[in-house]
Subunit: 223 residues, 2 copies
């Protein structure tokens, strides 16, 4: 069976894809080049796709900087050293990002005759983004079945979120058990020009906590 | 109030936008350059946006030919002289197109503080596309409110479909009453290299029938 996997180059999507592969899915990896500030993330997505042995890796550019509204797509500073327990959604939220990503994944799934879409969202160790929550995923699944020719003809699309209830440490443990090389991945929102992670954005902090809690060293930090 | 209007350059989206404008909305027009085969459609979108006096016209390229799956995005012939009453969805269906378009419209709406999105879908004189039906629109509206920061904070997005129950003749009559110049629009799926409409694709046939039923000449046919 063919599954579309949304692959960012970070450790969550790598792990989610590997779980789908371990369940027997043939992987079609989709990386959206949405105007991330750093090409480092795309290099990581390519390395991860190679490591996973995906059937195909499609990189699709769409410049969300034309829309803006986020620290990742506009001239808004990425928050550093943030209190992750503080309420509210940080400026790294990209308006409707996962809706756009899943819509493109759905288009590709329908085209290749796939009914499964894998996304590495995680509603536990995350930044509170609305489009990482189970209610969003369920709403998208309902939409997919009325939005498509395949759905009208009786197909049922499934959005797989294997990590949704995992802590970051759980994700890392699971990935290591699957033999993943997290040294290939990149998580930082605000890396140095060299590509080195800042260590202070939400993504870096959540990653570091996850490795610490899992009791292993982050191989990316050693490179 | 600000509304995002999806503007294709065809007569439906022009009319839908004009209706929203007549209701007092400030228009932010979004044209997705999705790999249409003909630049003629984009020229029409620009002319229509100018005629409407939109606040801003954003043209966003996203190459859906990388995904394919349609006569509009792959090397599949546009069906001509088709029996429009035949069951089934024709090859001009673009997988998940309106899901992608509305997702991008939602992102822009959230960014500019708008809560209203206008789309010229029409479930009467149309080609049976799943993502032109009221159930699709309702599902997207539900999704929008769980997908976004604005939705979480209590905003309610509305997808306006002023034409959904109109026949093509109704649309044309309404647009003419609003003073629209349909000579600016372009509907054909398979125009000649000169830009002249083929007269035989679904879109041309539905347009011609609409003008005939409304009892007026198509000004675009006279140019």
């Amino acid at each position: 069976m063919r599954a579309i996997v949304l692959l960012s180059g970070g450790l969550d999507s790598y792990t989610a894809a590997a779980i789908a592969r371990s369940e027997g899915y043939e992987l079609f990896a989709l990386t959206i080049q949405y105007g991330q500030r750093h090409a480092r993330e795309l290099d990581a997505a390519r390395a991860v796709a190679r490591a996973l042995g995906v059937e195909r890796h499609l990189e699709l550019p769409i410049d969300l900087r034309a829309i803006g509204g986020s620290a990742l797509t506009a001239d808004i500073a990425v928050p550093l050293d943030r209190d992750l327990s503080a309420p509210g959604i940080p400026e790294t939220y990209v308006p409707a990002r996962n809706t756009i990503f899943l819509a493109l994944a759905l288009a590709w799934a329908e085209t290749i005759g796939g009914r499964d879409i894998v996304i590495g969202v995680n509603a536990l160790d995350y930044s509170g983004y609305p489009d990482c929550r189970p209610e969003f995923i369920r709403a998208f699944e309902s939409l997919a079945n009325v939005a498509t020719r395949a759905g009208i003809e009786g197909a049922r699309f499934t959005i797989h979120t294997p990590l949704i209830a995992f802590s970051k440490a759980d994700i890392i443990r699971r990935g290591l058990a699957l033999g993943l090389d997290y040294g290939l991945t990149h998580s930082c929102y605000a890396p140095a020009p060299s590509g080195a992670p800042c260590g202070r954005c939400d993504s870096c902090v959540l990653r570091a906590r996850g490795f610490a809690e899992a009791g292993v060293a982050d191989p990316a930090a050693l490179r």
